[in-house]
Symmetry: C2
Subunit: 374 residues, 2 copies
C-alpha cells in the first residue's frame, strides 16, 4: 500500500531542513539510529520516508511518508505515528494528512452523516438549528424546562453544555430521562422532531452505563468530546450507542495539529456525524479560513466516508445567522448557546426567531424568492 | 470544599487582564453570560472565581478557582474544567494546578509507586535501568532475542518501544508471551528479576484482551501512553491490569499544559507508577528546569498519593548516566534506547556497562566509597 502522507510545518532555519526532515521521519517510525538497523526490509518498508521539503520564509513544510502497517489500522497507533513523539517538539506542527486509497475505509466514518441527521430531524432544504442546556450546576428541572422551551420553539437539536456531564447536581441517570421526556412532550404538542443530545463523559464503564440509560430513555443523539474520552473510546463507544454523535472540541486545542486535520478529518474518520468548532469572530481566535477548512474536511471527499455536519459555535448570535449560512451553506448546523439564554424571559421568543430565520433562509438559491415572499 | 486553583498564563496586554480573567472563569465553568443566570447558588458555588491576577512583562498569570463539584470527581470532566474550551485559545496556557484537601484522594494515584517498583525489580539503593525493544516492524524473534540480551545484562526494566503495539508484524498475542519467556529464561539463568513492560494500545476492548494475554504470560509491568488511549481509559484499565504502569508522553505535547502538570501531577493522579519524559539535551527541547519540575511533580507531596518514578529519556546515552543521577538522584529510572542499540554487535557489552555504571553509582552519598572500591 502507498504511504500515509503527513505534512509537518517545522519552525527552523532552512539550512537544517534536510536533517530535521530525516530526524522526523525516524522519530515517527522506528525511533532509533538507522545505522543500527540491519534488516533491509525494515529500512525499506517500515522507516518513514521524506517525500518532499518545501521552504517558506520562517519555516519549511516536510511531507513524511508513513507506512500504513505501522498504524495497525488502529486509531491510537495512527495518532502515535502521526503526532506521538513530535507532539513534544514545540517547533513541529502537523498541518495535513492524506491517506492512500484503501486506508480510510478501515475506519467507520460517520454512521449517519448529514443525510442521517436530516432524516432524524426532518430538516430539509435548510440549515439545522441547535441550542444548549446551560448552566452546569442547575437542577434537573431547569434543564427539562429549558429543553421544553427550545423544543416548543422548533429547534432541531438541543445539546447539553459539554460541562453538563455526570455531576452530583444533575447526574446523567436523572437528567437525561427527564430532559428527553420534556422534549418528547413538546414534539407531541408541535408535531416536530426535536432531538436531544446529552453529554457522554467518563471512562468506558461509565459510558456503557450512560448508553444503556440513554437507550432506555429514547435518546436519539449523543454529544461527546473525543479528546476528553480518548480517540479510541470515541470510536468504540459508537458501536454501542447506535445514534448519531456530535463531536465537541474540548481539550482538542493541541493547536499544533491543524484544526481541519484533528477536528475535521480525524474526528470524522472515527465516526463524528456532526462536528462542533469555534467559529471565527466569536470567543475563540480561529480565522475564517481555518473555519472554512474545517467545514471542508467535515464534508469534502474522504474515501467512502459519509459527510459530517459542520457546527460553527462559540459565542454566536442571531445577527450572524445570515453570514454563517452564506459561509457554510445549508449543510450546516447553527449552534447558539448564551446568545439565546441572554434573552432571559424572552428566551422562547428569541429561540423562535432563530428557528424562523434559519427556516426562511432555506436553500441559498431560493433565498431571494423566500425573502420577497416573507 | 475549597476550590481547585488553576493558574493560567495568558499572553495578552495587561490592560485586558481583568476582562480576560473573568472571561476565562466563565469559559471554564458555566460558559454563558453571567447576567443570564438567575440562580444565586450557581453564581456563588458553580461559577469559577478569579482568585488573583499577576502581571508580567508580556503576559499575566491568572489563578482561577474551579468548584470541585463541577468535575464530578471524574477525570474527563476534570480535564474539561481545567483545559477544555481554553485549549482552543492559543494565548492561554495551563501552568499550575493545586487541589484542595480531600480532592486528590478521589483518584487512585500510583498503586505501586517507587517502592513497589523497587520490590518488583529488587533494585535497592540505586537508580533503576531501562532498555527498549526496537525497531517496530521487526519479527517477534528479534524482540525476544533482544530482550534476552538485555535481561542477561541485568537491566531492571525492558520496555517495548511505544510504537511497537499490536501491528501485523508483531501482534501482541504472539510478541508478548515470546518476549516474556525470553526474559523469564534469562532471569532463571542470572537469578535476576528483570521486568518486561509491553505497550498496551487501542480501544477498551483491545486493552481488555491484551490484559488477559499479559496476565496469562506472567507480564509484571505495562507501558501505556495515557493521551493515546485517553485519560479515563488509562485510569480504568489499571483496575484490570494489576501491575505497575509506566506512562509514556506520546501525543501529550499539547505544550500549553505545562509538562509538570500533565505528565507529572495528572498522570500520577491517574495511577502512573513510572513516568517517561524527554530529558533535556536529548532529541526534545525541554529545559533542565522543566525536567526537574516534572520529577518534582512525580515524586513530591500529593495528598495521599504514592510517589511515581521519573524516567528521563529521549536520546540518552551512557555518558550521561552520572549527570542524570546527579540531577534526579536514585529514585529514578534511566532509560536508554537507541544509545544501546547503536552498539550493534557490542549490545550485550554496552548494556552491561550501563547496568554496572548505575549499580556502581549507587546511592549518591556512598558514591565516593563505592568508586574507590570499584
Amino acid at each position: 500500500m502507498e504511504r500515509i502522507l503527513a505534512t509537518y510545518r517545522i519552525a527552523a532555519p532552512e539550512s537544517e531542513s534536510r536533517a530535521r526532515a530525516e530526524a522526523l521521519a525516524t522519530e515517527q517510525s522506528v525511533e532509533m539510529p538507522l545505522a543500527a538497523i540491519t534488516d533491509e526490509r525494515i529500512l525499506r518498508d517500515v522507516v518513514a520516508s521524506v517525500e518532499s521539503i518545501r521552504p517558506h520564509a520562517d519555516y519549511f513544510d516536510v511531507v513524511i511518508g508513513i507506512a500504513p502497517s505501522t498504524t495497525g489500522n488502529e486509531v491510537s497507533q495512527l495518532a502515535n505515528m502521526l503526532f506521538g513523539n513530535c507532539s513534544l517538539q514545540p517547533e513541529v506542527e502537523l498541518v495535513e494528512v492524506r491517506f492512500p486509497a484503501g486506508y480510510a475505509s478501515a475506519f467507520p466514518g460517520p454512521r449517519f452523516g448529514i443525510e442521517g441527521l436530516r432524516d432524524l430531524t426532518g430538516a430539509r432544504g435548510r440549515a439545522l438549528t441547535c441550542a444548549i442546556l446551560k448552566p452546569q450546576g442547575s437542577p434537573v428541572e431547569h434543564f427539562a424546562q429549558l429543553a421544553g422551551t427550545y423544543a416548543m420553539a422548533g429547534v432541531d437539536v438541543i445539546k447539553d453544555d459539554h460541562g453538563v456531564a455526570n455531576q452530583a447536581e444533575h447526574p446523567f441517570d436523572r437528567r437525561v430521562p427527564a430532559v428527553q421526556r420534556a422534549v418528547d412532550e413538546a414534539n407531541r404538542a408541535t408535531g416536530g422532531s426535536t432531538v436531544y443530545a446529552p453529554t457522554f463523559s467518563g471512562g468506558p464503564r461509565a459510558l456503557a452505563t450512560q448508553a444503556r440509560i440513554a437507550r432506555d430513555a429514547g435518546v436519539r443523539m449523543a454529544l461527546v468530546a473525543p479528546m476528553l474520552v480518548g480517540l479510541p473510546v470515541f470510536l468504540e463507544m459508537q458501536e454501542d450507542l447506535g445514534v448519531p454523535v456530535m463531536a465537541h472540541p474540548a481539550f482538542a486545542g493541541a493547536q499544533r495539529i491543524a484544526p481541519p486535520v484533528l477536528l475535521g478529518t480525524l474526528f470524522r474518520l472515527l465516526g463524528a456525524d456532526a462536528i462542533v468548532f469555534p467559529n471565527h469572530g466569536g470567543r475563540f481566535g480561529y480565522s475564517r479560513a481555518t473555519c472554512l477548512a474545517i467545514a471542508d474536511s467535515a464534508r469534502g471527499a474522504l474515501e467512502g466516508a459519509r459527510p459530517a455536519l459542520p457546527v460553527p459555535a462559540g459565542g454566536m448570535s442571531l445577527d450572524r445567522v445570515d453570514e454563517m449560512l452564506s459561509d457554510y451553506g445549508i449543510d450546516t448546523m447553527l449552534l447558539i448557546g448564551g446568545g439565546l439564554l441572554a434573552a432571559r424571559e424572552a428566551l422562547s421568543q428569541r429561540t423562535r426567531e432563530f428557528v424562523e430565520r434559519v427556516r426562511r433562509a432555506g436553500h441559498p438559491q431560493d433565498r431571494g424568492a423566500v425573502e420577497s415572499g416573507g
